[in-house]
């Protein structure tokens, strides 16, 4: 009965989202405040209904109700409770329900947010969000009903894919989806602006916190997915340029460009048309990612189910929203009046360069991902486009961009002084060069790119903090005054500094992977093997163990550094009987920011055990850097100008704005 109620709630939500779409839109057209104000409460109601339905499905998983087909196909009574819950979105239907839940959540948040969004803009935004919700609810109800019953109910379920039985599944998809779907709000704002034919700094300020929030979660989601792959897939890789990874990276790249172009729009009212286009394209890429993954066009571990009907349905949604929004863009964009002019060397100019490089990088990854499909469709020829292609094209595009980053932070608006800025950055560049040379000397004979990469990272971090110095200190100012000034800098400045410093950390982590070592050895009990990085490992025991829904053979190794015992690692080969699938659980031991990574292999013909031993110096910086980036976005979101009611032009405010009110 509860299951049917959950199903019914989805149908009700569909009906209400029709209201959410039509009424506020009509209200905005006829300037009727009552009709416009309907949007808020209705969007909340839609969210509550979808949340109820999601809760019902989660409950069915928790109590292992195998009369529900979806639960039967993806769960097992012996599965640990945490994986029963996370299993809700470990399959096609459930993950789409989560998608819609987040979509409705964002709609409801705009509905209740009492910030400075003008009523008309809010009404149109909620209406567009309603339209997206309608499409995906229809998709779910017509092709992917998660509440389908199964009679007679089986006694036991088929269990979840063992690869997905991991804490990573609890964290990675929700974060990723909040990011992916979060860009729907930016999209809805952009469409609302086009419908109204009006866009200004108020729009940019209204959109900015949402864009930052979506970007924050997408950053964490991708990063979490990367770390999950790193420890779960068992060979220590952290990014594979897999089409599905690319599908999540594409909206991230454009979302990054969008964050930067809205800054220009907010401060200078320039780049309006481009910003609108970016907002549309970013969400279009999110939709395309959903289509590519869900349709099975790109088969991978993420494609839970391959069903041409579903693919076709999402394709229709895709064509409708991307085509429709671009058509509206072509029709209405000429109405948008362009704002301020600026010299090529200026903050605006630097941000335009940022957008140029990011858009090019995005296009490159997109073309690389789709090229094999397109070529096969056109000529029938089959080619592969893999990691070597992306590394050869993406990295050269990123390097000039990263070198530009610290310049962009301190160039003046309208017309900047390049020589002056270069002087300001000389110290950062010199220190970075010094670090590079020093590391090169110490690792002489090793990879050359690694010291350069570390130098770039150091330059980025110092360059990021250079903005604080530039804005709070000049020769002759005492340190205490400078410190006070630095504290008084707007939160958005600190957010920028953190985010850019985070990029620097990630760059260092990536560069350092060139120094990681790998040993492929066969070991017997008691054997000691060199791991690299000054570590050694001794194979102590191999013993069977029984988990809740698997059996495993655990190899335990003691680690030594300079002859001293420093800890142990356990790597296991697991076997999940229900799905008859084996997995490898890597053993990881963290030393500071570096890790020793051990992966157990198969028994060799001579009775010894195959082992892979890695030492990965500074590897944690890759993910730590992304966390710092996300923190930067979070700090930026709390900036004063997003909280005050009346839209105040921040560029008219004195440079050291009044300290933010107490939280």
């Amino acid at each position: 009965m509860l299951i049917e109620a959950g199903h019914f709630a989805l149908a009700l939500a569909l009906g209400l989202s029709l209201v959410q779409f039509a009424v506020p839109l009509w209200g905005a057209r006829t300037n009727d405040p009552v009709l416009m104000s309907v949007g808020g409460p209705v969007s909340v109601a839609v969210f509550l209904l979808v949340a109820f339905s999601f809760g019902v499905l989660t409950h069915a998983y928790m109590v292992s109700d195998f009369s529900v087909l979806n639960v039967y196909a993806n769960s097992h009574s012996a599965k640990p409770m945490i994986y029963k819950i996370t299993g809700v979105w470990g399959n096609h239907e459930g993950s789409m329900l989560l998608w819609i839940l987040i979509l409705a959540l964002f709609g409801a948040m705009v509905g209740v947010a009492r910030n400075s969004v003008p009523p008309k803009l809010r009404a149109n935004t909620i209406a567009v969000q309603g339209a997206v919700t309608i499409a995906f609810l229809l998709f779910l109800l017509m092709t992917s009903n998660p509440f389908e019953r199964l009679t007679p109910a089986p006694f036991e379920g088929q269990d979840l894919n063992p690869v997905l039985q991991d804490l990573g599944l609890a964290i990675h998809p929700p974060l990723l989806y909040i990011g992916y779907v979060g860009f729907s709000i930016t999209f809805a704002f952009a469409m609302a602006a086009l419908i109204e034919g009006k866009i200004d700094a108020v729009w940019a300020r209204a959109v900015r916190p949402w864009t930052l929030a979506a970007w924050l979660f997408l950053t964490l989601g991708i990063s979490m997915g990367s770390y999950w792959a790193y420890y779960e897939l068992g060979w220590g890789g952290w990014w594979f340029w897999d089409p599905v990874e690319n599908a999540s990276l594409l909206p991230w790249i454009l979302g990054t460009a969008l964050i930067h172009s809205t800054v220009v729009m907010e401060k200078r009212e320039a780049l309006k048309v481009w910003t609108i286009l970016l907002a549309i394209l970013t969400f279009s890429l999110s939709l395309m990612g959903t289509f590519l993954v869900r349709s099975g066009v790109l088969t991978s571990v993420h494609a839970f189910a391959v069903d041409p009907d579903r693919g076709l349905f999402i394709l229709v949604i895709l064509v409708f929203f991307i085509g429709g929004s671009l058509a509206l863009f072509a029709w209405r964009a000429p109405l948008l009046r362009q704002g301020g002019v600026f010299a090529p060397v200026s903050r605006e100019g630097a941000l335009v360069m940022n957008n140029l490089f990011l858009a090019t990088a995005c296009a490159t990854v997109l073309i690389g991902t789709l090229y094999p499909l397109a070529l096969e469709a056109v000529t029938g020829a089959k080619i592969s486009v893999g990691a070597p292609f992306f590394n050869a094209t993406f990295i050269p595009l990123m390097i000039p961009l990263l070198i530009l980053v610290p310049f962009g932070q301190v160039l003046a608006w309208k017309r900047g002084d390049l020589a002056g800025v270069a002087q300001r950055l000389a110290a950062a560049a010199l220190i970075a060069a010094f670090v590079t040379v020093l590391i090169y000397g110490f690792t002489y004979g090793g990879p050359v790119a690694a010291p350069l990469g570390v130098g770039l990272g150091v330059y980025l971090i110092l360059g990021a903090f250079n903005e604080v110095v530039t804005r709070s200190w000049s020769p002759g100012v005492s340190l205490s005054v400078a410190a006070r000034k630095a504290r008084g800098l707007p939160r958005s400045t600190w957010g920028t500094v953190m985010a850019h410093a985070g990029v620097g950390l990630t760059v260092i982590g990536i560069a350092a992977t060139a120094w990681s070592t790998e040993r492929i050895v066969s070991m017997r009990l008691g054997d000691v093997a060199d791991v690299g990085g000054g570590y050694e490992a001794r194979l102590d025991s191999v013993a069977p163990r029984t988990g809740p829904n698997y059996i495993e053979d655990v190899a335990r190794m003691t680690l030594f550094s300079g002859g001293r015992e420093v800890g142990f690692v356990e790597s296991a080969k697991r076997f999940y009987p229900v799905r008859a699938m084996p997995t490898t659980e890597a053993g990881i031991r963290t030393f500071g920011l570096s890790q020793v990574y051990v992966s157990v292999g198969e028994e060799q013909p001579d009775g010894s055990l195959g082992m892979r031993l890695y030492y990965k110096p500074l590897i944690l910086l890759i993910w730590l850097g992304t966390v710092v980036m996300a923190i930067g976005a979070g700090i930026s979101m709390t900036d004063r100008r997003f909280r005050v009611g009346a839209p105040v032009r921040s560029r008219n405010a004195p440079p050291t704005a009044a300290p933010a009110p107490a939280e």
Binding site: V163, E232, L233, G234, W235, G237, F240, W241, D242, T299, S300, V301, Q338, V341, V352, L356, F357, A359, T360, A361, A363, T364, I367, G368, Y371, L375, A381, K382, I383, S384, V385, G386, A387, P388, F389, A392, L397, I520, S522, V542, I551, D553, K573, F575, A580, M581, P582, T583, T584, S599, V600, G601, E602, E603, Q604, P605, S608, G610, M611, R612
Partner: protein, 164 residues
């Protein structure tokens, strides 16, 4: 001694369908004695696609076919082939599909050209937009008449005096 064997037999049976995350890549018994040769073997392997997997190189894969390919690469290297010859040898047998880094030819011209093309087109677009914007701005703002200029100079001079 261990339960690994039955599990692995099943893993091999499933290898075509699932990217089973298991001990992947070269096994200890495949490694060449000669370190330089082994290094080259790894580098070449990283660029060759495991044909039965989903977007994995043979260096990352545990599929039997990947193992065969890895051995093939090492055999050729031991036989004295250089890197290009080994690659050509593999391509001859398995087609260009096997290369994760597609060769530059007529078919992949757009692919390899796309970064430069997009960057160039974007830069040109920005250049044209800036020029148009600037000429439009110049047209909108009529130049000052001599009287206005004189008045402006007077005001500015006054301002400078006041500052001193």
């Amino acid at each position: 001694m261990m339960r690994f064997l039955p599990a692995l037999t099943i893993a091999f049976a499933l290898a075509i369908a699932a990217p089973a995350p298991a001990f992947a890549g070269p096994q200890p018994d495949e490694i060449l004695e000669d370190e330089a040769l082994e290094r080259r073997a790894r580098d070449i392997s990283a660029g060759l696609r495991c044909l039965v997997c989903q977007n994995q190189s043979i260096d990352d894969s545990n599929a039997p076919l990947a193992r065969d390919l890895r051995n093939l690469v090492r055999e050729r290297l031991v036989a004295g082939y250089d890197d290009a010859q080994v690659e050509a040898f593999v391509v001859e047998r398995y087609g260009e599909f096997v290369l994760l880094r597609p060769p530059v030819n007529m078919q992949t011209l757009i692919l390899w050209g796309s970064p430069a093309l997009v960057l160039g087109a974007g830069a040109l677009g920005i250049f044209l937009a800036v020029r148009r914007r600037r000429s439009a701005a110049r047209e909108r703002v009529a130049p000052l008449t001599p009287e206005e200029q004189a008045a402006l100079d007077e005001i500015l001079a006054r301002g400078e005096r006041a500052e001193r």
